[in-house]
């Protein structure tokens, strides 16, 4: 494999005696859209600031395209950061904000004008060049912040919650624009977000951070279908977690007695006496979500199970006893503790665990 665009190698950071990053390893490939995903306080922003050079790691190294930049101050790094609230200079016009990063490196005047106009055009802000940042909307400010960071042609573009300050409709549109922008520039993007839907939609790969540690790195599909830890299984999308193959009155088709996960859409509602069902449960509520019907069931042991059924083909009356069916391939084995990414697919299946037939 070629040299990674960004490599954080065993990065740790303490704040006031508290470890906020614990030996974080991240490898971002050239031209990749990479997201650091995690709940607030998981250390993702600190990780980004360390890459940008705004914070120094206590342990570990950071290299960009093979060059060690751990000791390089922020203003000499080939990275640029899009700050959470934009952090535009209020005393400079939109044009001067974008030109700022070129003027610091003594670019020729004519080239500055050309590159600034080009980038303002790319983010659709060309007509606002003379405006003061204070007169722009949140979305417009965020675009200017992106242009300002991209105009320097960074080797890695860092984005700190770039969309979180925007309202939902704009967020959805900006996701696509962000992805398009990344494809167009071919720059490696590293985006910090707490929004798993956003990360899944725009990223090539995602690293899930929890309490300062990388729980799993992979594509959205990998994270969704083969979560490497309980945290990932619960944080990415919705999941029904079971302590073992025979738990909560169900008998799941799995050759494993540890933690198992079944997505709500993987369960199928069947007749209570259906031979293929893995157990029965009582319908507690059913909500129409358009294409899907969200059914909340309760098993004999009082365990709540979420099922997403196709809305057109399903009828589920509250109080009705139904059967639950699930294919063996849809039952994910979840390692109890976080394990390195490479070890996930080979997670050992215990020999002593007898294959259990789906109960009638």
């Amino acid at each position: 494999m070629s040299v990674p665009a960004l490599h954080a190698d065993g990065v740790s950071k303490w704040f006031d005696g508290r470890r906020v990053l614990d030996a974080v390893d991240i490898e971002v490939r050239e031209g990749e859209f990479f997201s650091l995903l995690g709940p607030s306080g998981c250390g993702k922003t600190t990780a980004l600031r360390i890459v940008a050079g705004l914070d120094a790691p206590d342990e570990g190294r950071v290299s960009i395209n093979g060059t060690d930049v751990t000791r390089t101050p922020a203003h000499r790094r080939p990275t640029n950061l899009v700050f959470q609230q934009g952090a535009l200079f209020p005393h400079l016009s939109v044009f001067d904000n974008v030109a700022f990063g070129l003027r610091t490196e003594k670019t020729a005047k004519r080239e500055i004008a050309g590159r600034v106009e080009e980038l303002l055009d790319v983010v659709g802000m060309a007509e606002f060049a003379g405006r003061a940042p204070g007169t722009l909307s949140g979305g417009q400010r965020q675009r200017v912040a992106m242009a300002r960071a991209l105009v320097r042609r960074p080797q890695v573009l860092l984005l700190d919650e770039p969309l979180s300050a925007l309202d939902l409709g704009l967020q959805l549109r900006m996701r696509r624009e962000l992805r398009a922008l990344q494809r167009r520039t071919g720059t490696a993007f590293v985006c910090v977000t707490h929004n798993q839907a956003e990360a899944m939609e725009i990223s090539d790969r995602i690293a899930v951070l929890n309490a300062g540690r990388v729980e799993q790195t992979g594509t959205a599909r990998e994270l969704y279908h083969t979560p490497a830890s309980r945290f990932v299984a619960e944080f990415i999308g919705e999941n029904n977690l079971f302590a073992g193959a025979t738990a909560d009155g169900l008998t799941l088709p799995a050759d494993h007695d540890g933690l198992l996960a079944v997505r709500p859409e993987s369960f199928r509602l069947a007749a209570a006496d259906d031979a293929a069902s893995v157990g029965t449960a009582t319908v507690r509520s059913a909500g129409f979500l358009g294409p899907r019907l969200r059914v909340v069931l309760e098993t004999a042991t009082g365990r709540e199970v979420l099922v997403d059924a196709e809305a057109g083909a399903t009828t589920a009356a509250v109080g009705e006893r139904v059967g639950l069916a699930v294919a063996a391939a849809q039952v994910a084995v979840v390692p109890e503790t976080a394990v390195p990414e490479a070890a996930v697919p080979e997670a050992g299946l215990p020999e002593e665990g007898a294959v259990r037939e789906a109960a009638s």
């Binding site: 940008a52 959470q84 405006r131």
Partner: protein, 296 residues
């Protein structure tokens, strides 16, 4: 200040009541300031057009005192010294106060901040006279600083040294307030965009804290040109500024000349303060914005 609620105008009666309360609250302070200030200015103005004859006010209107104050080399020298000391002290004080304010702004630990604040602001708790005597002790023969700063006492450098010390806390306050209004992240953004520390200071920090710098300069200048005790004690009669000259003339019962010099002092302060205002408006782009939000 009238208590109006923009979003939803209150009922008329309530509005009238609120306005009355607002006036009642504003009235005493305003009346006090206006009565005392205006009456004194008027009195000074009328005095300045009279002359002094054998220690008595000579009534008929005359511009003789004005021409004496503006035509005499000694009197002009006093005016010039006042201006010079004012400008030098202002520049030095603001330049010294800026890093101090920056330090106070950046210190994270609450007890360090408290301690630093106390050290910087405690001089205000001690009388100016006491502090000036302190400087005299330090600068007089045998004093701690008499060696390296030989000859500063009773000369302009000594006066400036003591005045900078006296005014320093007054410059730190507006500078600190300006630093606290810095939008989050702009300095880090500048660093991220390749700006060296010097460049960050020049292109981001100074322009954004300019209102605070102007406020600090205005405050220090106004306090310096009207300072009396410090120049009187450390100047030892050899460095005379307007406020001392006013005092001396009153002592000699030359009220007209004292009035002229008091008005000159006021004029100097007003002119310099308005120049500061003009300058800051020229430099501060945010105030040059037109209605469409375009920066000229």
């Amino acid at each position: 200040m009238t208590g109006h609620d923009k979003a939803q105008p209150p009922a008329p009666v309530a509005a009238r009541r609120r306005r009355l309360i607002a006036y009642a609250l504003v009235a005493p302070g305003t009346a006090y300031l206006l009565l005392v200030f205006c009456s004194v200015i008027l009195l000074l103005f009328s005095y300045s057009f009279r002359t002094e004859r054998s220690s008595r006010l000579f009534a008929p209107f005359s511009t003789e005192t004005w021409s004496q104050a503006l035509g005499d080399d000694y009197q002009l020298g006093v005016l010039w010294t006042t201006l010079r000391v004012g400008v030098v002290v202002t520049v030095l004080t603001v330049a010294l106060a800026y890093p101090v304010a920056w330090c106070l702004y950046r210190v994270r630990r609450w007890w360090v901040r408290g301690l630093l604040g106390f050290v910087i602001f405690s001089p205000i708790l001690v009388s100016v006279v006491v502090r000036s005597y302190g400087w005299m002790l330090l600068l007089s023969p045998g004093g701690l600083l008499a060696g390296p700063l030989d000859g500063w006492l009773y000369h302009e450098p000594g006066v400036i040294l003591a005045l900078v010390h006296v005014e320093l806390p007054f410059a730190v306050v507006p500078l600190l307030a300006a630093l606290r209004t810095l939008p989050p992240g702009v300095l880090e953004a500048a660093a991220d965009l390749g700006a060296s520390p010097a460049r960050r200071l020049r292109s981001v920090l100074l322009p954004l804290t300019l209102p605070g710098i102007v406020a600090a300069a205005q405050l220090v200048f106004a306090l310096t040109v009207s300072a009396f005790a410090t120049p009187a004690l450390l100047g030892g009669g050899r460095v005379t500024v307007l406020s001392q000259s006013v005092y001396q003339n009153i002592q000699q019962l030359n009220w007209p000349l004292a009035a002229v010099q008091a008005l000159l002092l006021l004029a100097v302060a007003l002119v310099v303060l308005s120049v500061f205002n003009r300058l800051s408006r020229l430099v501060d782009v945010r105030q040059r914005r037109d209605r469409k939000g375009t920066i000229a």
